[in-house]
Amino acid sequence: MKKHLLLVFFIATVFPVVAALSIAAAGLFHHEKAMERVARSYAEDLVENIAYRLERESFLGRRFSLGMFSSRQLGIFSWGPSIPGWIAVVSSDGTILFSSPGAESLKYLWSPDMPVGRAAEVYDPEGKKYTIAVYPSSDGDIFVVGAVAWEKLLGPMIRFNHLWIFLVIIVFVAALSSFLPLWYWVVIPLKKVVSEISSLKWGSERPVRDDIRAVNEIRSLRQVLYDLSNTSIERNELRSRYINDIVKVQEEEKARIAREIHDGPLQTITALIQQIRLFKRKVDLSDNRSSEHLDIAEEAARNTVRELRGLCDELSPPWIDLGIEHALTELANRLSRYFNINVNVDVEDDLVLSRESIVTLFRVFQEGVNNASRHGKASNVNGSVFSDNGDIKMEIVDDGEGFEPEADLEKLRLKGHRGLANMMERLHLLGGQLHVESFPGRGTRLTCSIPFNKRSQDE
């Protein structure tokens, strides 16, 4: 079973309440029983005692009269017993011969079959409780009846006994109502934290910092989570700056090496070829078999020129400087030849972009065609570049095998789509986006967009 917080609180609140109420109930029950026993023995003692005295008085020959009450022993009839209640002397038919004040209710209580000598509890028509004891006197023609009036004796406590059920209800309601703050200050805030955190994009979003309705512990939990999300964002920013630097330095370095090769060895070897040719022109080598060494040297030099050009193209083709249209068309032609597939690109006329944007689109296009051919086994790739609402958009559509796209960069990387992740990263560096539409068996459509005037904002 799941241990819900509310259940735990329910158990924690209701169990002690039930236990306390049960103990109190048991105590009250025993208390009442004890009181009953005390009242019985008192009533029994009282009537026996009075009966004995009455007998002695009658033995002394005195007739019953009011005067008797003046005697100290029987003064009880004037002022009543020391415990709230009354005492009366009745004839065998129930007529009160004389009694202490308050004995009027006897007529409702009296019954001929009342047990003699043993006290018992009886109730008058109003529901008032009495403990009554009866003791015969004077050979059984009169009876002494003593009663303890519970209501007078234990009035408030009896009322309390009647209120018992209400008290239980009140305690229960109080216990249950303690759930209300619990619900509003603990359970709801906790649920909110959980739902907020579970849908949070770590590294780019922050949760709400504080929840004034929540208990302090949850508020500090929120603060901690907020700080944590901040750290995550900072780390992400650092990482992206780091990647930015790497990409930038890498591109710069590639361009620098390509330039060095172009201006250095490439020119020198070109000059070498020229000199070999000039030499061959000036010197008649037609009958000289050693001239084949020169031919081999020239051929070697020409191959080196081709290799150096290839190297420059791999590093950072100088023709990127021709602008987006020329750069992408040249790239498309080269990729088409390299992969032996159809690669076309259509660039909107007169589109002038920063070198940074061109290099980014160039690399993304390169990666896109590479993916389409290698992974998608596409035979046609069509690219198009156009401006759209202040953004530069590039679409790369292939007729390859397609795949299940995944928007999360990290997951892409884990799934092995490193190319896509790299494209995304490059675009992000220019504040751009990559949108991937693909479905197994239906090819892929990549849509990249970068802000048009990103460069001018930077400078």
Partner: protein
């Protein structure tokens, strides 16, 4: 009268090589050498050569920019772009900016001389190493139909297949069929190549292309 030529190349060794190439040609007179783009522009204005050989990558101002500025200022000089690079887009960019020839620095001296002679007479010269796999000028391609020519010209001006289709009131698929047929006839692998080859074979003229 010899053809007056200006040579602009920032690399001293290759410049020296090219100079020697030109010196050995009787019909060519080297009137000046520039080591950067800006100097080349000044010297062209000053010396008014018949032909200027411009390196594409030069300090201060690249060759393509020099060509564009000459075209814009209306100076009457035939330009040949010189480069170490075999990128076909360099050719297109050069032609769009007014160059009449394109030759690799590694081309043999005879070819350079021929390029200068062809261009000085108002012709067009494209290095065979760059302008397509099929190298020989003499090879005449299969005749291209009028419709195919139309499609090629529109495509060459930068219109997409869709735009070409809507201009000619035909379907995009038909445009692509035409293009495929053009590639096949010229021995080209893509639009750029078919364009360069068409220019080279005289199927289309530079003026038509730049219209």
């Amino acid at each position: 009268m010899a053809v007056r030529v200006l040579l602009a190349d920032d690399h001293p060794l290759t410049r020296a090589g090219l100079k020697s190439y030109l010196d050995s040609e009787k019909e060519i007179e080297l009137v000046g050498e520039a080591e950067d783009g800006q100097r080349a522009l000044e010297m062209i204005r000053e010396l008014e050569p018949d032909v200027a050989l411009l390196d594409i990558r030069m300090p201060k101002m690249d060759g393509v920019t020099v060509a564009r500025m000459i075209k814009e200022s209306g100076i009457n000089v035939n330009l040949i772009m010189l480069t170490s690079y075999d990128a076909q887009q360099y050719v297109l960019a050069s032609l769009r900016n007014g160059a009449k020839g394109f030759i690799l620095k590694t081309a043999p001296p005879e070819e350079l001389a021929r390029a200068i002679m062809v261009v000085s007479k108002g012709g067009l010269f494209l290095d065979s190493e760059v302008a397509g796999a099929v190298g020989e000028d003499e090879l005449m391609p299969e005749t291209i139909s009028a419709r195919e020519r139309e499609v090629l010209l529109l495509a060459a001006r930068g219109f997409s297949s869709k735009e070409v289709a809507s201009k000619l009131f035909i379907s995009e698929r038909t445009v692509q069929t035409h293009l495929a047929s053009i590639y096949d006839k010229l021995g080209a692998r893509n639009k750029t190549e078919s364009l360069l080859l068409a220019l080279k074979y005289g199927v289309v003229t530079l003026e038509e292309l730049l219209e």
